[in-house]
């Protein structure tokens, strides 16, 4: 196996710039890795070596002509299947879109192509990003590279597992309630949910439009920053896109320093309900930051106790509306009942056949929450909780620069363990959901391994809206402190994958 797969994206960029490796070599190395291990991991739903190698060859040609598009020109990247692509199918993990080819590229994909990055394939996900384990993918679950019997998180388990298994140095994810950060937590990788509106959602198959955000999935904080710098920025195709001049996130990592940084620790996201090993690594990381000059402040954000309940009204409500477009008319599956039927019957038969159990559950719940007589009590109250969450964060950020918590209450659970208890799985999102409700950015990065099970634990930082650079500062600094303390990266302790040919 080529050593190239173990390099960071930043190192690959340097190797390309110095002529020590070509994009074709790097891309081939990752395609070989996918071929060798993805039968076990199942991070990818679609890989097309021909398309990827053609993009790599074009990159090498540009570089030979002295005309690379960007520092990352020629570096491969995996793309969550929620983002539409013209040269690979886009299914969002659903049968209803099996084999569907988009006539246009999602804006983050366009930006990758414009910077010369090489798309490696589409990664697995819970159907329409509804889930925390990828077990709700219509195409079978992804497995956690740390333990193939365990979940890789979700909904973006494919992207996280792809980078954790060295199948890709970079990946894109989407985060509606933690779908980038929770997979990072359980796979020992890095994931960032940018500020709402910071990255265009044009061409991201919508789950809940007031919550969705696209972001980077990587093995280290600098790579995430480099990718973030490529995909951020205003897009006229997305009416929620912010017109904001973003500072370089990569610069924030390179200048990372926590001296004098005020870090809030949230009492509602500490203690009860969290696995001891998760809390132990969290508090050690906070102590390490304090020892290096950060100031730790206790915070209480009482509205967070209602955040999960509000989220599971707002998300299903918006999803039930967004998924109405899968109507068997313009694209996707069409299933006609025996003997034909009206368009309404065809629609109903198509959606019965094309949607999985979790999607149906949430659509029906959302339809209920929006129906006459319940709208004010449920959807209306949930939106008011959202105001309380925003106010709590605003008050918190009056006292601190960033807020810290464990990313999720537990380490990776066994595949199948929570499938029969949706409420239990939903509660696992309690630390990540508040950022989506408030529209603020969040990062998860590795904090160590839990003593009970030896599985990865992540730490989450949150910052005020538009202050994404603060996450890269504190994340970059903590990552360096931990790697210095351990003498290695966390992922270097992941067990080697044996076999598992695709």
């Amino acid at each position: 196996m080529s050593e190239l797969i173990h390099r960071t994206a930043a190192e690959l960029a340097t190797a390309l710039a110095e002529g020590r490796a070509s994009s074709v070599e790097i891309t081939k190395a990752h395609l070989d890795r996918i071929e060798a291990v993805d039968g076990d991991v199942h991070a990818f739903l679609h890989v097309n070596a021909e398309v990827s190698l053609a993009a790599a060859a074009a990159s090498d040609k540009r570089r030979a002509a002295g005309d690379p598009l960007h520092a990352l020109d020629g570096v491969p990247v995996a793309i969550k299947d929620v983002l539409v692509t013209t040269d690979m199918p886009s299914t969002a993990g659903s049968r209803i879109l099996e084999g569907w080819m988009s006539p246009y590229d999602a804006t983050p994909v366009t930006k990758l192509r414009e910077a010369g990055l090489v798309p490696l394939g589409k990664t697995n996900m819970d159907e329409f990003a509804m889930g925390s384990s990828t077990e709700h993918s219509a195409y079978g679950p992804t497995r956690n590279p740390w333990d193939l019997d365990r979940i890789p998180g979700g909904s973006g388990g494919g992207s996280a597992a792809a980078v954790a298994a060295f199948e890709a140095p970079l990946a894109l994810g989407s985060d509606t309630g933690g779908s980038i950060r929770q997979p990072a937590h359980v796979t020992g990788t890095v994931g960032i949910k940018p500020t709402y509106g910071g990255v265009s959602r044009y061409g991201a198959i919508a789950l809940a439009s007031s919550l969705d955000q696209i972001g980077p999935v990587t093995r280290n904080v600098l790579d995430a920053a480099l990718l973030h710098d490529v995909i951020a920025g205003h897009d006229r195709h997305d009416s929620t896109s912010l017109k904001h001049e973003w500072p370089s996130m990569a610069e924030a990592v390179r200048k990372a320093d926590v001296k004098g940084l005020r870090i809030g620790v949230v009492s509602q996201l500490d203690g009860e309900g969290f696995q001891p090993g998760v809390l132990a690594r969290f508090h050690e990381a906070i102590a390490l930051l304090e020892a290096n000059g950060a100031e730790i402040v206790e915070l209480s954000l009482p509205s967070l106790e209602h955040a999960v309940a509000a989220y599971y009204l707002i998300l299903p409500a918006e999803a039930s509306s967004n998924l109405a477009k899968f109507d068997s008319v313009r694209f996707g599956l069409r299933v006609a009942p025996a003997g034909g039927g009206t368009v309404e019957q065809v629609m109903s038969a198509t959606r019965e056949a094309g949607f999985g159990a979790e999607v149906k559950r949430r659509i029906i719940l959302g339809t209920y929450a929006l129906s006459a007589g319940y709208y004010d009590a449920y959807y209306g109250s949930a939106q008011k909780v959202r105001t309380l969450v925003q106010r709590d964060f605003a008050a918190g950020f009056d006292q601190v620069d960033v807020i810290a918590s464990p990313t999720a209450p537990t380490t990776a659970w066994k595949l199948g363990e929570q499938l029969d208890d949706p409420l239990e799985m939903w509660r696992g999102d309690l630390a990540t959901i508040p950022a989506n409700l408030a529209g603020i950015p969040g990062i998860s990065l590795p904090a160590g391994l839990a003593d009970e099970d030896g599985l990865p634990v992540g730490i989450q930082f949150l910052a005020p809206a538009r202050e994404d650079a603060r996450l890269y500062n504190v994340g970059g600094a903590l990552e360096q402190l931990l790697v210095d303390k351990w003498g290695h990266t966390l992922l270097s302790k992941a067990p080697a994958l044996k076999g598992g040919q695709r």
């Binding site: 009204l313 008319v329 019957q345 559950r361």
Partner: protein
Amino acid sequence: MSDISEESVRHLAGLARIALTDAEVTALTAELSQIVDVVAQVTSAVDADTPATSHPIPLTNVYREDVVTDDVLTPEQALASAPEHDGSRFKVSAILGEEQ
């Protein structure tokens, strides 16, 4: 306690255009009752004076010039993935039932 019955799940499934099986209706009735009992806590967490937030970072008046740009789909592209079309339009099944 929520008021979700099998009948109400069938009604919601009709509104959502999903032809649920009897087994799915039974399972969803039980699940939704549990879920609604939990999420209903939001009703007691807020009062009438709290304003609602629909978008976390609200933007207003996001307009563009009313001109056709060069990045719109051609009819061929728009129809390429349709289950059925006649070359310029999507084809759908009968929109009226016999009783209508």
